[in-house]
């Protein structure tokens, strides 16, 4: 009996006690693997990206010349490439507005009117497309938009085939091809569809946080529902809209799959990055650095508008 009590604690027990006495050390050891991974793999890669963008392609050998130069950036800021960047930013902005317009009513209904069960179902209906099958959901729109696709088929059966052609011929929303898939409108629709959940969730979260007492106070003071919405609810929910716009804007800016599966032959940042990849990595890298810079500017504006408190 005595022997059991005085026996030296087991090795695992001693290790465990040791860590208990040095919480700082255990914190360090816990944090070391994930932090090392992210610093080496991720931050390291981002640094490599920046470095690459200051290299250039040797025109004779077509190989990357590993010395510091600004010539890749000179190549980047030619008129054609600036057009690519501008066009992508316009598209991203339009998609953001489109998402906000569609997301708000749904988020509003979820936050204010839906009972517990309906809210759970709606939440799941929004979450599911957020996490699943990105490529497949883009591909689905190919079935819808191409010439032999669903929209054409339905419109022709209704005898409205000319409406589709009329839309394709419109400037700004139309395109040069023969199907809706090659129009700006087509790309806009697909992007809105793909990123919509990213807008719904932050707006919903922001609306949930509007205290009921504020709304009661507003109506007690004589405001009509519409006035309360404009002056109380919407201003409080607006940071949620900005928070959602961070995702819709940045994801559209960086996407290159939609343009490849749906779009027309017009270039956007994403496709420009991937098409330069095999023969001019520095130019791809420089394009990416520019889109990251645009994103950082956007994030700074978003922070001023209070978006980070709404995330």
């Amino acid at each position: 009996m005595m022997a059991t009590i005085t026996r030296r604690p087991s090795i695992t027990r001693r290790i465990s006690t040791f860590f208990y006495h040095y919480p700082g050390l255990s914190l360090f050891l816990l944090l070391l693997p994930p932090l090392a991974w992210l610093l080496i793999v991720y931050i390291g890669s981002l640094a490599a990206l920046l470095v690459q963008s200051f290299y250039t392609i040797d025109p004779m050998s077509m190989l990357v010349k590993e010395e510091f130069t600004l010539s890749t950036y000179e190549e980047l800021f030619t008129a054609a490439n600036i057009d690519v960047i501008k066009r992508t930013v316009y598209l991203a902005a339009a998609v953001t507005v489109g998402c906000a317009v569609l997301a708000f009513p749904l988020a509003y209904y979820m936050a204010r009117y839906a009972n517990r069960r309906i809210k759970g179902l709606l939440y799941l209906a929004v979450m599911l497309p957020l996490w699943s099958s990105y490529l497949v959901r883009v591909y689905a729109w190919r079935l819808i938009l191409v010439k032999e696709g669903v929209i054409n088929s339905v419109f022709e059966q209704l005898g409205l085939g000319s409406v589709v052609e009329w839309v394709i011929d419109r400037p700004y929303i139309g395109g040069t091809g023969t199907s809706l898939a090659s129009t700006y409108l087509g790309m806009f629709l697909v992007f809105v569809y793909i990123w919509l959940p990213y807008m719904i969730l932050p707006i919903h979260a922001a609306l949930e946080r509007v205290p009921k007492s504020l709304i009661d106070a507003s109506s007690d003071l004589g405001a009509r529902p519409g006035y309360t919405f404009r002056r109380v609810i919407f201003p409080l929910a607006f940071p949620g809209v900005v928070a959602g716009s961070i995702f819709t804007f940045s994801l559209t800016l960086g996407d290159y799959i939609v343009a490849r599966v749906i779009g027309n032959s017009v270039f956007y940042i994403g496709p420009a990055v991937s098409s330069n990849l095999s023969f001019n990595i520095p130019l791809s890298a420089a394009f990416t650095v520019v889109s990251v810079v645009i994103m950082v500017i956007y994030l700074l504006i978003a922070r001023r508008l209070g978006a980070f408190d709404a995330l």
Partner: protein, 263 residues
Amino acid sequence: MPSKASWGLKLATAAVILFLHFPVALIILYSMSEETGTFEFPPRSFTLRWFEVTWENESFRNALLLSLRVAGIATVMAIVLGTLAAAALYRSSFFGKDAVSLLIILPIALPGIVTGIALRSAMSLTEIDFSLWTIVVGHATFCIVTVYNNVIARFRRTSYSQIEASMDLGASSFQTFLYVVLPNIATALLAGAMLAFALSFDEIVVTTFTSASGDETLPIWILNKLTRPRDRPVTNVAAVFVIATTTIPILLAYRFTAGTSEE
């Protein structure tokens, strides 16, 4: 405020939900369509033949296998790294803590193309050859956050006094982890793992930058088939596979965390 929603609002809500889901329903519909060239709506006749044809296609099976392996390995790595990070961060405060949590979220917050081209640049500078493992490295990096988010949310709701009680009763740290902490976080861990798996399984952007040209994951296989109209029936069936393989884990993850999480 009126306590009942107006008809307009209800209609808008229903329309948006429909908009979010009908394209995926269309794919499932056309994967069973007899017609191969056009997408006449509604399809005239149905068959399950294409499922058999697809399954017998060797390149499809290879792609499916590669996707499952990548997602499996990336998920295991994300579980380990994400749980460690959550355990380290939930009760501590130290200089740079915000920077660390930002660092965990960054790979998923930045567009995939940034992560992809950054990894590609690094691999090209360090002359690492593309393989299964280069795909896994990319996937594990952006999957850490899903496990981290779920586990840290559960940690915050778990009272620390349980752990103290376990220690006071003489359990070692290992025993406490095994018998107290792990049962508490198990479902959150599982939910995070499911989301990580789904995220990895259908990831395409980062994958295109980090895979060898011969290695096709299922999404890349689909992407390569897209421009060939002859392969449409097979592509549709493969798409249904992706939908199933990503939707089921997400529904399970939702069940595991329902009622216990605001997320």
